[in-house]
Point group: C2
Chain length 273, copies 2
């Protein structure tokens, strides 16, 4: 984690996520980190290229991808496919990646990122290096990974549009994206949330009452967790409040999260007096 | 159904879906009909537009949509959104719509359609006519449907790329798409398939043995159904075979499907002798 840029964004102060004035803003992932995590969490997106006939219409197609070390998408495409022919004529392209939308949820409230850049063929000399990376992310490509009429392409990202839901959006610096790490807790998050909500409801009430500025909390449940902290919905007599708490130190695995949660309970009990 | 173009595509004769030579090809939806059904079955896609700065990169974004009577997508977009600003400068656009991918399935085996055309604002005089259509398809838009900084746009489709999975793809004529009807069984299909596989396994074996040219079928299950017929996987001592059977007449609801299935059982028993 040493070379991770320290550019945490403070909460934006929207109504649903506001913190009382006497509570310090909790650290949270940068938009660059959120993008990198979002894109690393999928292997399929909408690739936009420019048509050849007529020239220049934007053309969306489905594409599977893997990521290189800087988060540039790698594609394995048929030379006959429309998007490949498009990229050969004009390399300008983008990849749209979206978070899964829970059943019944508003799709526009989910996160998505558009990686904009240039889509160039990877020559024979680079093929071996990307082949295994691609196969690991796309196991179903194994049966055509050595077809002669398929080629690897790389989208070299030049700019990024991030939309985290209503009101959370920005243009993300491509270098910040390239040097960010996907959230190390991304795969563990669902399990951590289920565990906290099943077995540690009381601790969450303590957090909300004594660490998050909602002393009248009657119940609380975790809604998300990342390396820097976690979010809860605190229920009070005045309604439901989105609350974020930071970990004492960034966490890279479930064991560190557990230790941080225990430390926060100790803090909360001390403040409860 | 009277004005539906009669342009059924005969099976393409690929190895997995081949019919024995003595069985007539079963009618099936045209690609235009498949596209129209696919697009009507969703309300969310990837909208590709052309960026303003720098000019002309293809830019993918998430967009909810409804359809007008000719299958042109209608959008309700913020004037501040990137895709809106893009369309104002250059109306060339496309909408990519994908079928849901079952868990664990190869995403590239699922159907998708790219509708390519021009994205133009719908003026105040047209707003009332599309407002209710849009709301019906996107109930969650109700709370901002009357915001002043949101406008309706229509993508007037000029050409369509359809990919039904590996090897099933074509450019679809935009007029054929506009005059097609979505499959009337689309919503009922899952229930029909479950019912047939739970309660009518024996009938399906009869179909495969006596109507579909696989007299050595030992078991069979339905995999899809549409207005013109249905597909089954027939299991024989030599393997699994994709089989399609046509209905005597196109069916528009579950009752007609039931009657058709009964008629086919009668046919199969007669041929069984």
């Amino acid at each position: 984690m040493a070379d991770r840029p320290m550019m945490h964004q403070v909460p934006s102060g929207d109504a649903s996520g506001s913190s009382p004035a006497d509570v310090a803003p909790a650290p949270e992932p940068t938009h660059a980190e959120r993008c990198r995590t979002l894109v690393a969490g999928s292997s399929r997106g909408a690739l936009s290229t420019l048509t050849t006939d007529p020239v220049g219409y934007p053309y969306g197609s489905v594409a599977s991808y893997a990521l290189d070390a800087r988060g540039n998408p790698l594609f394995f495409v048929s030379l006959m496919a429309e998007h490949t022919q498009n990229a050969i004529r004009d390399p300008r392209a983008s990849l749209l990646v979206t978070e899964p939308v829970p059943d019944g949820a508003d799709p526009l409230a989910s996160g998505r990122a558009t990686l904009i850049g240039r889509l160039d063929a990877i020559g024979e000399e680079g093929r071996a290096a990307v082949r295994d990376v691609y196969l690991a992310a796309n196991p179903s490509s194994a049966y055509y990974i050595d077809f002669g009429d398929f080629v690897f392409y790389r989208l070299t990202v030049e700019s990024i549009r991030y939309v985290g839901g209503y009101g959370r959006m920005s243009w993300v610096d491509s270098e910040a994206y390239a040097s960010s790490e996907p959230d190390p807790l991304a795969d563990a998050a669902v399990g951590i949330i289920e565990h906290m909500n099943a077995d540690h409801a009381e601790a969450q009430v303590l957090y909300c009452r004594h660490l998050a500025g909602h002393p009248d909390t009657t119940s609380a449940s975790m809604s998300s967790v990342d390396r820097y902290g976690f979010e809860m919905i605190a229920v009070t007599p005045t309604g439901r409040h989105a609350v974020r708490l930071g970990f004492p130190e960034p966490c890279t695995d479930g064991l560190q999260v557990r230790q941080a949660m225990v430390a926060l309970v100790t803090d909360a009990r001390r403040l409860a007096g």
